[in-house]
Symmetry: C2
Subunit: 414 residues, 2 copies
């Protein structure tokens, strides 16, 4: 029988083997006293199985509150646990409850993080995954052989639909590939979803008719299920190719329902992610996280960016990009979305470390506040990527390309 | 204009005032360079506002990774921030993205936890909240003036529908009020949802016809939206009064869609909660968390239990019960679900500290493995609560009540 495997980074004041057995018990048949009906046969069929244990360092302070070590020592390890597909079938919320449920409450752990997970081939028959992915998003935007260049409408909240549309017009004429709402804006008192969609799509449709280039607009539909589906239909009818959802806030079932409509590329915003990931020994790592959302069908997923304005390290960002680009179930392509404090100066390092242009590369102020105006900003970002692929340093690129050179002058000291 | 207020416990290597300003900026208009269109007027209308700052202790080690303190000092504080309802209207996922979104990524914090939130009265006009709550669940089960007594079918996974139904028969005849699936079981290879519902409800319906007492069965419907709704209809048609959802795994939009059907009491299982809460300076505290789910319409919510088998302290459990029992928007009643290692011995302390019987009190092995059989287990739990309300100690109750006395002998040393 096929099995789902999860890899955890754990810390425990007990023997690692014993703590892992508690986890496996709690997440399959376990209870605190023996009860009738719990036969050896059903235990074996449905029991979680500890596959491997890899002992790591020992520390003297617990990472998070839990049982106290009488020895004063806390043991760390990587532990692989597996479950039969028979336990929950093809049910993503049930899979999450099994891999990421009550186990975080177990007192025997003073640290527990889900590092990665593996699903068996039959998942590929049951989950369609991203309908567009990298190739689909490239086709929808007409962009090949370089990253999609995108931006976020700023200020995050406060502009009227007409102000937003005016900004979109400037950006479209500047040659941008992709524009998104901020995650804080869905429908505000001065920018209703419907009016914003209409105003922005009027601009995008006219620009597409005139130039043949259709800007992808990730308009934020995040809300209750029925409202999202109503908005989704309006987005399709408007001629737009994309919708955005705040995946953690909407949740797995709601996001999957949106993805299952299949007519729009779904931009997955991961706001709230820091809560799930920022502690080194609590929560979930991105390689596991992105697989769940690929199974749900998200086409584009945020990965932060090199030298970002947030807390995350470059190493972690690089790992996230690599995780997205690794095929899953023979495909399930998802486009990594690079953002946060990006202005093009990070392109050489991003390319050096990831060797890919399969990215949606987003800059906010880096475009809108470019000394030569937004058009200069978009040109500068494309130059940055041309230079990156050619192996130029930021300094060499600044000398070769005037617009990128102006970016370096304005943003380079940030 | 009405405002939504959030209270955060923060830690920062910078001046608290400066870090709070970064949070307020990031979660409303903010970007890293000034852009056209960002007028003072719109800033004031949509800007997050810092309401109060309460300085707390200073520590020398950061709680979670973030910016380094050049002074070697990390300042802690409680900070209240507010947003106008104009920013996101009556959209729970957008509220969550605003209160719990990218702010967890801000490098200026080395700790950030959402402690509580307040929504304005107009939320009461837009969200129906729990359709049943405490009074509704009491009416559905016919239980007044004492906690509802419940149990979880164990082993968590592995029993066939017929074995489950046989166990339900024993429990119903023992006088139980409430029975739930384990969160790990939705539809397994040997217990499909439909067959289990049918087998269990046959028992429950016969028992109700015979005795007038209808056991509430929280059958786990957690899955994709359409599947949950299909199952929900089957649950209603079966004569059952309740369905269970794993709220974190299904997510906010999916859970609200289920609650909005309005025909069943919704049992909210919080598995995964430890990931959101276990670190003292990361994530969300229960007083904030339970309000979000009350707005979504959940009728019953897990709060762990006194002297539980997990990591959580009794103080935290007491605070959670109190949070659930505090009226919200003049009502929004939600029934706290006490569980984890409970066998009745914790009833006196639970009552002493909370002074309430408005609880769903669940014991697993404490009922099924009772020396006098499950009927003795249910009797013992009712005795435990009678004794608790009368102010008896565990020892005094054990002397007065034979079945509870037998519980103490078997489980008291655990």
């Amino acid at each position: 029988m096929e099995r789902i495997t999860a890899r955890y980074y754990i810390e425990t004041p007990f023997e690692v083997e014993r703590a892992a057995a508690v986890l496996a018990g709690e997440q399959s048949s376990g209870t605190f006293v023996a009860v009738p009906g719990e036969t050896e046969e059903l235990k074996q069929r449905f029991a979680a199985r500890i596959e491997t244990i890899n002992h790591l360092e020992t520390v003297s302070e617990p990472a998070i509150p839990g049982a106290k070590a009488s020895s004063g020592k806390y043991n760390r390890a990587e532990v692989e646990v597996s479950w039969s597909v028979e336990n929950f079938g093809y049910n993503l919320p049930a899979m999450v409850s099994t891999l990421q449920g009550n186990l975080y409450e177990i007192t025997q752990f003073t640290g527990l993080k889900l590092m990665d997970l593996e699903v068996p081939p039959s998942f590929g028959d049951h989950f369609k995954g991203p309908r567009f992915g990298i190739a689909g998003c490239r086709k929808l935007t007409g962009v090949q052989d370089r990253p999609l260049i995108g931006t976020i409408i700023k200020p995050s909240i406060g502009l009227t639909p007409q102000q937003t549309a005016d900004m979109v017009k400037v950006l479209a004429e500047a040659g941008i590939d992709f524009i998104k709402d901020d995650e804080l804006l869905v429908s505000s008192a001065n920018s209703s979803f419907e009016e914003r969609l209409e105003a922005v799509m009027r601009v995008i449709n006219i620009h597409a008719d005139k130039t043949g280039k259709r800007v992808m607009y990730a308009i934020n539909i995040s809300d209750e299920v029925d409202t999202m589906l109503r908005r989704y239909e309006k987005v399709v009818a408007s001629g737009n190719t994309c919708a955005m959802v705040s995946i953690n806030s909407v949740g797995l079932s709601g996001v999957k329902k949106v993805c299952d409509q299949g007519e729009l590329a779904i931009h997955g915003h991961r706001n709230g992610w820091g809560m799930l990931n920022r502690h080194p020994l609590l929560g979930i790592e991105f390689p596991a996280y992105q697989k769940i959302w690929r199974l749900a069908g998200v086409d584009q997923l945020h990965v932060n960016g090199i030298q970002n304005k947030f807390w995350e390290s470059d190493d972690s960002v690089v790992r996230s990009i690599e995780a997205c680009l690794k095929p899953m179930l023979g495909g399930y392509s998802i486009l990594p979305v690079v953002s946060s404090g990006q202005w093009g100066g990070q392109a050489p390092e991003t390319y050096r470390r990831t060797q890919t242009t399969d990215l949606l590369y987003m800059a906010g102020g880096g475009i809108m506040a470019h000394p030569d105006g937004p058009a200069g900003g978009v040109v500068a970002l494309n130059q940055a990527w041309e230079a990156a692929v050619a192996g130029l340093s930021v300094e060499a690129a600044a000398q070769r390309y005037p617009e990128f050179g102006n970016s370096v002058k304005k943003f380079g000291s940030n």
